[in-house]
């Protein structure tokens, strides 16, 4: 399995996979969003604002999952030193930032009609702000370091330590403020699940966001590998 993480092999197998992933992601997103926006009823309590859920929930889920993916990639890099995993973590961070921003923004907009304010220091919202800061620091550290392997090592350690502190922050924030935000209700077995009319298009959207994330990370990883190859070739040329 690990040989697929060799840069050359990776470039090979991702070339055909990439357009398909993008195509599927586009399809799912188009179907899910159009279905959700045009063909679902308004909620009796929230009115048309339920439609925000099709953006808000998938983005929020992927914002967290992107960080988890970076954590796993960092661990693999530290243990097995496969360059592609480190570069994939680097490639995923800006995508994660965008998802975080979407979750924050749609959540904020949703807050105005629901809670009467764009921003409240609710634990869930606050945790996301902290997650955003972690992303910023992680990206800034990558950008600041000249040597790519040093950068990979340092950002990996930061990602691991940061994850621990992110979890601690989550508990701290809960301790600090009880909050307004809705609990998780997407679990498949619970009775009080969202009504099916909302649930199916939401599921399609979630799949779309996941595929979009994968496609973007693959594409950006390919770019990072090429950039790294340029760097290596130029260094060698200068040496000659």
């Amino acid at each position: 399995m690990w040989e697929y993480a060799n840069p050359k092999r990776f470039m090979g197998w991702t070339r055909p996979v990439l357009p398909w992933t993008f195509g599927l992601a586009g399809l799912c997103l188009a179907v899910g969003l159009i279905w959700g926006f045009f063909f679902t009823p308004d909620d009796f309590r929230q009115g048309s604002t339920v439609k925000i859920i099709y953006l808000h929930v998938p983005a929020a889920l992927m914002a967290i999952n992107a960080w988890i993916m970076m954590l796993v990639a960092s661990l693999i890099w530290v243990v097995r030193r496969h360059h592609v995993t480190a570069l994939a973590a680097r490639a995923a961070a800006p995508v994660g930032v965008v998802f975080t921003l979407i979750a924050l923004f749609t959540g904020g907009i949703w807050g105005q009609p629901m809670w009467g304010t764009y921003w409240a220091w609710d634990p869930r919202l606050t945790s996301f702000l902290i997650l955003f800061l972690f992303y910023l620091g992680y990206i800034a550290l990558w950008e600041a370091i000249e040597d790519p392997d040093t950068a990979a090592d340092l950002t990996s350690v930061l990602c691991m330590v940061g994850s621990v502190f992110a979890i601690l922050s989550r508990y701290a924030v809960l301790f600090w403020n009880q909050g307004l935000h809705q609990g998780a209700s997407l679990s498949l077995d619970k009775e009080e699940n969202v009504a099916d009319v909302f649930w199916f298009p939401l599921l399609v959207c979630i799949v779309g966001f996941v595929l979009l994330f994968i496609a973007l990370v693959l594409m950006r990883t390919r770019t990072e590998i090429r950039a790294r190859r340029i760097r290596a070739l130029e260094a060698r040329a200068r040496r000659a």
Partner: protein, 47 residues
């Protein structure tokens, strides 16, 4: 176009901004993808 009622601005803004942000990250990634690919081809040809 469905009737969005009193929250039309909010809902449309949420969709607008989200789609804008997604397009932005896709566009930026794509532009860099193309540029780096071209740069690599140039380097490989010369080297």
């Amino acid at each position: 176009m469905p009737d969005l009622g009193q929250y039309a601005v909010e809902v449309l803004a949420a969709y607008g901004v989200s789609i804008l942000l997604l397009s932005a990250i896709i566009a930026i990634s794509w532009r860099r993808y193309v540029r780096v690919r071209a740069a690599l081809e140039a380097v490989e040809k010369n080297g």
